[in-house]
């Protein structure tokens, strides 16, 4: 039996015993140290006759690999065992509170504005804006509501000057005027924003939010208006069916004008939209008055279309079961936490408007 085989067998046997790391390292030195048993065999290599050398070398390498592998795996085994032993003592109570993190929230009005924008975006509306401070012309006169028109009484207006020429806009409709004056038809826009009326009680706030809609093209008629609003309401309330009623009404800037009611019922104290035999008024709309088109240099003989205005706060209340309008603007931390939305909940058409 060659020396190599002898060494291999002997040390494989030794290594099979239960050894600690020191013992294994000792063996490692004995075998692979500078003058170790295996190392010294390699030095012999040169002395071996050429015809035997190949065989010798292969036997030697084989023995070396086998022994080395065993030593490495033995050491790993022991280390793992030691880690396991150590871990036994490293237990924490994972039921302790996590490192605190802050949760931000998006206000329900902002969330609903994003929902509305997402819905109208699908059917080709883009978003326009206008200033909160308006002149009397854009807010009233251009909208076919001249001075001393009784319809002005319906808007309790905040004024910024004694001459009553500058005011806080009472509706988002002046954005119609600005948009049409700045561009050429066709127009297909929505304009969400803050609006103001000097009216304050349980159901009225001096500031609230509206979204204006305007679609002007060559052949837009009341059927399109009905279709657009029906689509919006269905999408917004995320229901399959909606009961909707168009009712004649009057706004100076539309002719014909309509108010829109949606059907609802109250089940277990909650409003269910789309069912039942009760009606709830949710918006005003109509075909843009020819005088309004003339005021913005659009030829009413060539172009026509519809406009609508919706109270955003009311929509938010209906959809999310919020009872008190005034609470929207009270900034109560508890309220904001309860009714606010996680900022990563961005309403979108493919993910759905709400969770």
């Amino acid at each position: 039996m060659s020396d190599i085989k002898k060494i291999k067998d002997e040390y494989l046997l030794k290594l099979s015993e239960d050894l600690d790391v020191n013992k294994i390292n000792e063996i490692k030195t004995v075998l692979f140290g500078k003058n170790g048993l295996v190392s010294s065999q390699f030095k012999e290599l040169g002395k071996i006759p050429e015809d035997e050398r190949k065989k010798f070398a292969s036997e030697l390498n084989e023995a070396k690999d086998e022994l080395q592998n065993l030593i490495v795996s033995k050491i790993k085994e022991i280390e793992i065992k030691e880690i396991n032993q150590k871990l036994e003592k490293e237990k924490v109570d994972i039921t302790l509170p996590a490192r605190p993190f802050a949760e931000g929230k998006i206000h329900p009005v902002s969330q609903v504005i994003d929902e509305i924008s997402s819905i109208f975006s699908e059917i080709g509306f883009s978003v326009e804006e206008g200033p909160d401070v308006e002149n009397e012309y854009n807010n009233f006169t251009a909208l076919n509501t001249p001075d001393n028109h009784p319809a002005r009484d319906m808007h309790d207006t905040f004024y910024l000057d004694e001459k009553k020429e500058l005011l806080l806009r009472t509706h988002t409709s002046p954005v119609q005027i600005r948009t049409m004056l700045n561009d050429k038809p066709p127009f297909k826009i929505i304009a969400p924003g803050r609006t103001y009326r000097s009216d304050s009680d349980q159901t009225h706030a001096p500031m609230f939010h509206q979204v204006e809609g305007l679609h002007i093209d060559k052949d837009i008629n009341m059927g399109h208006l009905k279709g657009c609003l029906n689509y919006f309401i269905k999408e917004f309330f995320e229901v399959d069916k909606i009961k909707m009623r168009f009712r004649p009404s009057h706004f100076p800037f539309t002719e014909p004008s309509a108010e829109v009611d949606i059907g609802y019922e109250i089940k277990d104290g909650k409003i269910i939209i789309g069912e039942g035999d009760k009606w709830l008024e949710i918006l005003g709309c109509g075909m843009v008055h020819p005088n309004v088109l003339k005021n913005v240099n659009v030829d009413p003989g060539e172009f026509q279309g519809y406009a609508f205005g919706i109270g955003i706060d009311r929509l938010a209340m209906l959809k999310y079961g919020i009872n008190d309008l005034r609470a929207f603007f009270d900034c109560d931390y508890r309220w904001l936490n309860q009714f606010g939305f996680d900022p990563i909940d961005v309403p979108s058409s493919y993910r759905g408007l709400s969770r």
Partner: protein, 802 residues
Amino acid sequence: MKITSDWLKEHLDTKLDENQIIEKLTDVGLEVESVEKQGGELDDFIVAKILKAEKHPNADKLRVCDVDIGKENPVKVVCGAPNAKEGLFTIYAPPGSVIPKNQMKLVVSKIRGVSSYGMLCSESELNLSDESDGITELSSHDFKNKIGDNYFPKKNSNVIDISITPNRADCLGVRGIARDLAAAGSGKLKDFKENELKKDGKQKVSVKIENEDNQACTIFGSCLITGVKNIESPDWLKEKIISIGQKPISAIVDITNYVMFDLNRPLHAYDVDKIDKGIIVRNSKKNETFTALDNKEYKLDDGMCVISDASGVLGLGGIIGGTRSGTEYDTKNVLIESAYFLPRSIRKSSKILNIDTDAKFRFERGIDPLSIEQGLKKASNLIQEICGGKVSEFDIQNIEKYENKSLEFNPSMFEKITGIKIEKNEMMKILNDLGFVIEENKKNLQLKIPTWRPDISLEADVVEELIRIKGYEHIELIEPQKIRQKETLNKKQKLFHFLQRAIASKGYLEAITWSFTDSKINQLFIEKNKEIKIVNPISSDLDVLRSSIFSNLIIHLNKNLDRGFKDLSIFEIGPTFLGKKPGEQLTVVGGLKSGKIFRQSWLEKERLVDVFDVKSDVIKSLVEAGYDKENLYFDIETPSYYHPGKSGRVFLNKGKEKVVAYFGDIHPNVLKKLDIKIEALAGFEIFLDNIKQPKKSLKDQKTKHKFSDYQKSERDFAFILDKNFQVQELIEIISNVDKNLIQSVKVFDVYEGKNIPEDKKSIALNVTIQSSEKTLNEDDLNKINQTIITAVESKLDAKIRS
């Protein structure tokens, strides 16, 4: 406008029941606001007589009354009215009843030690009039046999309250409503029947309309009725007046009101014997005064339309009459006025004087100018029937003639606007029922517009009439197309939404507060901006437009602190105002963070919120919005409401074009002034209008990205430099040593104190060096080290710390 179905049926022959009528009203655009049982809560109010009224033992101004309410024993009522006297007939409200004016439910209560069972009511409390000075006084003659009876007659029919839109003046009379219903197929409009009136002689009171500029009265019709006996109205008339929520006064006044509500034809009755010579309709002169029927004295402006006589103003035409010529029970001769006033002028005068009357409400919307004689006839007939007397011929003065306006209507307009078709015959039937006179003219319809419809002047108006009567439910829905030709949001709008959610994701709750605020608090944040006052604020603490988001947000933060919260983060995104012209506003995100971080945490050491918390929130949000952190540039000039030593402002780059944001601790004096008690408060403001939109979109920026796979090395440095020196510049100098090699510079220690001179500080930095071309060897690295040290030491008064 209140009506009852009984009254309606005087004009409308219909088989519909009340519910069907109500539904139809809403369908044609006459929205029914409420339907209330007539009487209803008013059933509780009882005619009573004060038997005895004694001074309250513990109060000078109160009386204790024994009141006969028709029961066996009188009840004791404590009353504060000065007119609560023995023998007075009045109206008694028992415990449990609800006072119409304030909806207060009465209970038995002790008033200064004396129990009071119910209450004696003033007219104002019962919504009968504005009279609130004392309790209602009923005439003993009429009510002596009615003690214990209900004051308000019990009725079975309901009061239907209709909200009439401002364009429908014609529906401010019952007949107009009936006409609409008839057109909509709900019955037949009854013919207008009026008994022939026997007229005796000329109208002897002279009437003159001054033909001057801006004369608002264009027609003044009148008739004289002599030898009348003004009495209380008969029951049928009183009930009518009460049924629609009005208070009966006397036959003559009730008749004029009745005609107004019935035909939408306002009238006015004068006691002729109180008119000095004749009537002159003219413009008022400045500072003329008169006492109106509401018992208030009005001082007039120039150019208001007044009805006057030789002694002065009798009344404001179309708005309100005066007391001087008012009719009373002893009036013998009356002049009935039936006139036309221009809506614009009525509205202007009544706005200036702040008067609202039923007549004014009607004239400003536009009365039928051709209804003058109809009104005179109906009123004279009734007065003659109830009060007797002789009626004169009608005297009609006018300075303008009115006739039907005409309009050519192309029937194809209907389909163009509504999207649906109806037959020409159906159109003609509807228009005819609404009072239009139609002539067919080839394809078009030549329409004569009824004079009671001042709202109709365009083809679109006619389309509305047709579709309104036809029914909006017939409009066929056209599904919207899902085509988008323009991006939904522009870049600024996208930035708005992005920053809104970026800030919220840093743990801030979004608030929405008013755009106006308290000028006293706004002063703290106004800096050099103009104060923008609201002329008519809803309250004195909401009197200016806000100059900063903080003006409101800090108030609400404080309210939440009062609720017991300490560690708050709130923000708002919205407008702040620089001037009172449209567009002089900015869009700002403002946030406030208070209290501590890791308060009472078992895991982390708690600490106060500070400037670097908000700085991080600002930077991170800007980075998320697509701006390069490395380019942001900071300095220390901030508004006075920030802590002068712990606040800064941010620019998108060293060019310092526009301030993108402020951040910092809020000035302790601001907290003191607002009485805010919290350990720490920091805030930030980001100005969206100042954030330049990146020229390149994100997809273009990303294609340029390069990275190196060669080994990187890190070197630490510590420099001792001037205490006031800003680290921003140090980092800049080091970065500029070799922009290709120096990948990042981290500050890992700032030290002042032992071993460092008093006016100095030590800044320790970690610099990452990496080449994109090769692995750097020791020599290369040493060279860079040396260049860094030389650059810093030569440019700044700094020393490398050994």
